[in-house]
Symmetry: C2
Subunit: 230 residues, 2 copies
């Protein structure tokens, strides 16, 4: 069943935004009384469409499943690669995405931030619908390395680091509720940036023998977290 | 240093193909005496370019690193998704890619196989250069499910399976040298196809709670194998 997210509820009705209604009418060619799934306040509702394309709630499905929080801090990438990271990270359960400003990033965001954030948020919403999530990942505004103040288990992918493998670190730290990961741009974080993160209690980790492209690293990390934490 | 693959050696010279020479001259703008890395018969050679853009061997770097063999059997996907899978799987160390013919695949290969295989092989070669591999993954011709005869640990991603998690299977089978993975198309393998694979001693595995797109699954699996096997 097709899934949508709603933010407005009145009595027994959930209201969809105009893009979703367009999708229901024109792409899915659904009609009155057809059924859809609607997520409202992290709860799944099985609904029937009324004649105005509002969703009448038939059943609420409660979900007891809780998972760890994943926060992904990635440099701003070229649009196609960024879309890829947002989409795949959403499939793999990311909760928060923080675009970070790094010294060696080649893509600048000056003046275009609001528009870009809106576009990125839309990609995450659509990927959340496709992958049947109950939440949409939040994208925060572009952040400096020195402002990455988080609690939880904090990891930074390091090219220099050889001994701290992800496996070793995860084995010793399985009880954290939140895991924050920082990924550097092509060419890596500068030694100063890495030091700034270590001062903020980030643990440098090695990703092993493979040479991965920047956009592959988030998928690699989230796959392993899903595997190790589930 | 830029890496290329060569198949022809004569005395102290390694010869590159005309695409690579074009890349060296026009994209990299390299000149006589500039250094490149050339892989010949799985060995890394540090070379200097001569005036004809042949590679003079200066040093051979021996590598004792051995890894398990990864065989990935994927349905034929739409070109953009296929390129994505080939590129990322190469980064993550895949050795053999088998395009499989499945009942629910929407993409047909009839009549275009030779051309497609050539294109796919080129994608793998370029990704191998970028990710500094010593081997290029081999792509075999399109294969029927019932012809997937392999030795090693054999896994098939199943939507029905709930208990056999990848973690459980890998924990009990860490000593295999070769791991073969079959991934179904959108909509999954048919019950008959899954049975045919089980008859060939493939073990059905569950991928957990996330709903992943077909093209994400190979990256998910290879990430975990790299993590678990290294």
């Amino acid at each position: 069943m097709q899934r949508y997210f709603s933010e407005i509820k009145k009595d027994n009705l959930l209201f969809l935004n105009k893009n979703d209604i367009y999708h229901i009418k024109t792409v899915m060619r659904m009609k009155e009384n057809d059924r859809i799934e609607v997520v409202y306040q992290k709860q799944l509702h099985i609904c029937q469409l009324d004649s105005e394309y509002n969703a009448k709630i038939e059943k609420i499905i409660t979900n007891e499943f809780t998972k760890k929080q994943y926060v992904l801090c990635v440099p701003i990438l070229q649009e196609q690669k960024m879309s890829f990271v947002l989409q795949k990270a959403t499939e793999l359960g990311v909760d928060v995405i923080v675009p970070i400003l790094t010294n060696r990033s080649k893509i600048k965001i000056d003046g275009k931030e609001t528009k870009k954030l809106e576009r990125w948020q839309k990609i995450c919403k659509e990927a959340s619908e496709q992958s049947k999530r109950l939440t949409i990942p939040q994208i925060s505004s572009a952040t400096k390395i020195t402002d990455l103040n988080f609690s939880g288990l904090k990891l930074v992918c390091s090219v220099k680091e050889k001994n701290n493998t992800l496996k070793k670190i995860l084995k010793d730290n399985l009880n954290y509720d939140k895991i924050v990961m920082v990924i550097g741009p092509e060419g890596g974080l500068t030694p100063l940036e890495e030091k700034q993160l270590i001062d903020l209690n980030f643990i440098p980790i090695s990703l092993g023998n493979n040479v991965l492209r920047v956009e592959t690293v988030p998928i690699y990390l989230l796959s392993i977290l899903n595997y190790e934490m589930e």
